[in-house]
């Protein structure tokens, strides 16, 4: 299948107080049109940075990004829209909903006033907001409503790829569930591709076709949702799944978690997860593992998985 998005070996390093932080360190992935990829991993693993690289908000120091066959590193395209983490806090408090949503179109300067209003109304409807909210200010909206305005701002540009950075983590339980339902239905209607960034595996499970698990700037496992959830290969993915609190009191399990999240300025050698891995061997602390395809489309970067297969 032709891929809409192809990311090849991209890297992005921040420099803070003299230390180099390898936020994204050689990541490759691809996504067909109309499909949804979930990007999971703990805080600081580089999810947002990768999202911003794809959206062209940051330019990779290494690697290439192809969108619909063209190289796009560092370019912002209308057809790739990025909805920021904490986007609700980022809405300009002095602008009304209508202006917030049409801002991108005005900058683009392609449409007349009436056309713009029609498009605002369509976008508003797509995210399930009533027209009565058009002239409100952000502080007059609930968290869920603000998040919808942020999504409408992106949708109005007619993107083919929508990158949503932690869309539900700032929302209340019930508002979050409603937003997830909305994201699912939008995808079907508009044939949109998503990259959904979240630290919550269950959120990704609800919306996505594919999952990529990040750890300390690298993808450690990727595959179809069913593959990752029913037969996780990497020990970090297993750790994430076991730590997810199940709502079933009969399945109580407070797993013993080894070690601490990685300090990004001191990334371990070899497999970056090895200091926390229950199965680490000599090889794990010395050589970075390569990707290995355990079943078609399911890739794992782990020495142990590889030796177990053979």
């Amino acid at each position: 299948m032709a891929k809409l998005l192809k990311v090849k070996n991209v890297a992005y390093y921040y420099t803070a107080e003299g230390t180099r932080i390898r936020a994204v360190d050689g990541v490759s992935l691809s996504l067909p049109a109309g499909k949804a990829l979930g990007l999971v991993g703990e805080s600081g693993s580089g999810k947002s940075t990768l999202g911003k690289l794809i959206a062209g908000l940051l330019k990779p120091q290494r690697g290439c990004i192809y969108f619909a066959g063209e190289r796009i590193e560092g370019k912002m395209l209308p057809s790739i829209q990025y909805v920021f983490q904490n986007s609700t806090a980022a809405l300009n408090p002095r602008m009304r909903v209508k202006n917030l949503i049409e801002e991108g179109l005005i900058i683009q300067g392609k449409y007349r006033r009436q056309q713009r209003i029609n498009r605002v109304l369509t976008a508003l409807k797509a995210v399930g907001l009533p027209e009565t909210l058009l002239y409100r200010f952000p502080h007059e909206l609930s968290g869920g409503q603000k998040q919808r305005v942020a999504i409408a701002r992106a949708l109005i540009m007619d993107p083919r790829l929508l990158i949503l950075d932690e869309p539900v983590s700032s929302l209340d339980v019930t508002a979050g569930a409603r937003l997830l339902a909305l994201l699912k239905s939008l995808r079907q209607e508009k044939h949109l591709a998503y990259i959904l960034i979240s630290h919550d595996l269950a959120v990704v499970r609800q919306v996505c076709d594919y999952v990529a698990v990040m750890y300390a700037g690298k993808i450690v496992e990727r595959g179809k949702v069913e593959q990752i959830f029913s037969s996780p290969g990497h020990y970090y993915t297993k750790m994430l799944l076991s730590a997810h609190p199940s709502p079933d009191p009969k399945r109580r399990c407070l797993p013993k978690i080894i070690g601490e999240p990685v300090d990004p300025s001191h990334i371990p050698a070899g497999c970056r997860f090895h200091p926390r891995c229950p199965q680490a061997t000599f090889a794990c602390s010395h050589r970075p593992p390569a990707f290995f395809e355990i079943t078609p489309g399911h890739l794992v970067a782990c020495h142990r998985t590889q030796t177990q297969i053979f």
């Binding site: 703990e42 805080s43 968290g143 209340d172 339980v173 019930t174 979050g176 569930a177 409603r178 997830l180 339902a181 630290h199 919550d200 595996l201 269950a202 959120v203 499970r205 609800q206 959830f229 750790m239 994430l240 799944l241 076991s242 730590a243 997810h244 609190p245 199940s246 709502p247 079933d248 009191p249 009969k250 109580r252 399990c253 407070l254 797993p255 013993k256 978690i257 601490e260 999240p261 300090d263």
Partner: protein
């Protein structure tokens, strides 16, 4: 061990009164974990703050609580002084906001030990090091000299926990203790909370909007909505056979690893139910009476309770 009776917290607004918590009563036994769940604004934190005498000054509070054999009235703030930090320990959601950025974390844990337990600074330091290693804040001997910003979010939360349990309180109150953390760090903290309750026969009041967290830890659960307790029962009853429509909505809204979301469609928005059921405006089963009359609390078999007209 702890029994709260008719707790009511109100705020006066320009020309109206806002009830953040309405006549809430509950109790906790030693060695028991009581979970409180509910959406944002349901009054969970206000309830926790009342129990520790930390409500904002503009809040008006009435009701009483008996704790460790003493009955206290919420109106009288002076009674809390000796309790907080010694007999009642507190952990909040945001460790960064609660820890003093200018003091080493070791000092912040040692202080209550000196203040309430009368330890010498040297003894307190030894105890702090012991607590730090027990909670996995390693290397403890060096960590006590660090400032909060030198620790990760999960480590800061463990420092808060260390300060809260330093004096071995009988009651621990944890308000969204893991909401800001990654799942792996969350699992560590929940495990530590569980161990503390288990080893010291303490009681824990665990507040969370995440039913998954509650299901993993709690014995009994209170479901709060609009400042009232709409349902109460054992964790099995609540998670497996929820009765109240609001509890059902909360459960249906929780993204799960093993099943797709099934959201009930609710759209009574715009209804006002002032004086009626707090959930009527969003309830798929509401009837005329729900808009007019507050549903009374009904006691059911096996210690269960709900407040809903149709049940």
């Amino acid at each position: 061990m702890l029994a709260v009776k008719d707790l009511e917290i109100t705020f006066s607004e320009k020309n109206s009164i806002f009830k953040a918590v309405r006549k809430v009563s509950f109790s906790v036994q030693a060695g028991e974990i009581l979970g409180i769940v509910g959406e944002s604004g349901s009054g969970k934190s206000m309830t926790a703050l009342a129990l520790t005498g930390l409500l904002p000054p503009e809040a008006k509070v009435c009701g009483s609580m008996s704790f460790a054999g003493k009955t206290m009235h919420f109106e009288d703030n002076s009674q809390w002084q000796g309790l907080r930090g010694s007999k009642i320990g507190i952990v909040f959601q945001d460790p960064a906001a609660c820890l003093n950025p200018l003091k080493t974390v070791g000092k912040q844990v040692a202080e209550p030990l000196i203040l309430h337990k009368g330890l010498t600074p040297k003894e307190a330091e030894v105890e702090t090091i012991r607590l730090f290693s027990a909670l996995g804040i390693e290397p403890a001997v060096q960590r006590i000299h660090h400032y909060p910003h030198q620790l990760s979010g999960g480590q800061q939360q463990r420092v808060m926990l260390a300060a809260a349990i330093a004096c071995k309180p009988m009651l621990l109150i944890a308000d969204e203790p893991t909401t800001a953390l990654d799942v792996t760090v969350q699992a560590q903290i929940l495990r530590l909370l569980h161990e503390y309750v288990h080893n010291h026969s303490a009681a824990l009041l665990l507040i969370s909007h995440d039913l998954g967290v509650i299901a993993q830890l709690a014995d009994e659960v209170l479901v709060m909505c609009g400042g009232t307790i709409v349902e109460k029962g054992s964790v099995y009853q609540i998670m497996q056979k929820p009765l109240h429509p609001y509890t059902k909505l909360l459960l249906a809204s929780l993204p799960r690893l093993d099943a797709p979301l099934k959201l009930p469609l609710v759209a009574n928005e715009g209804l006002t139910a002032e004086g009626g059921c707090v959930f009527a405006a969003r309830c798929p089963h509401y009837r005329a009476i729900c808009l007019e009359k507050e549903p009374p609390t009904k006691l059911l078999a096996e210690g269960r309770q709900t407040a809903c007209h149709i049940l």
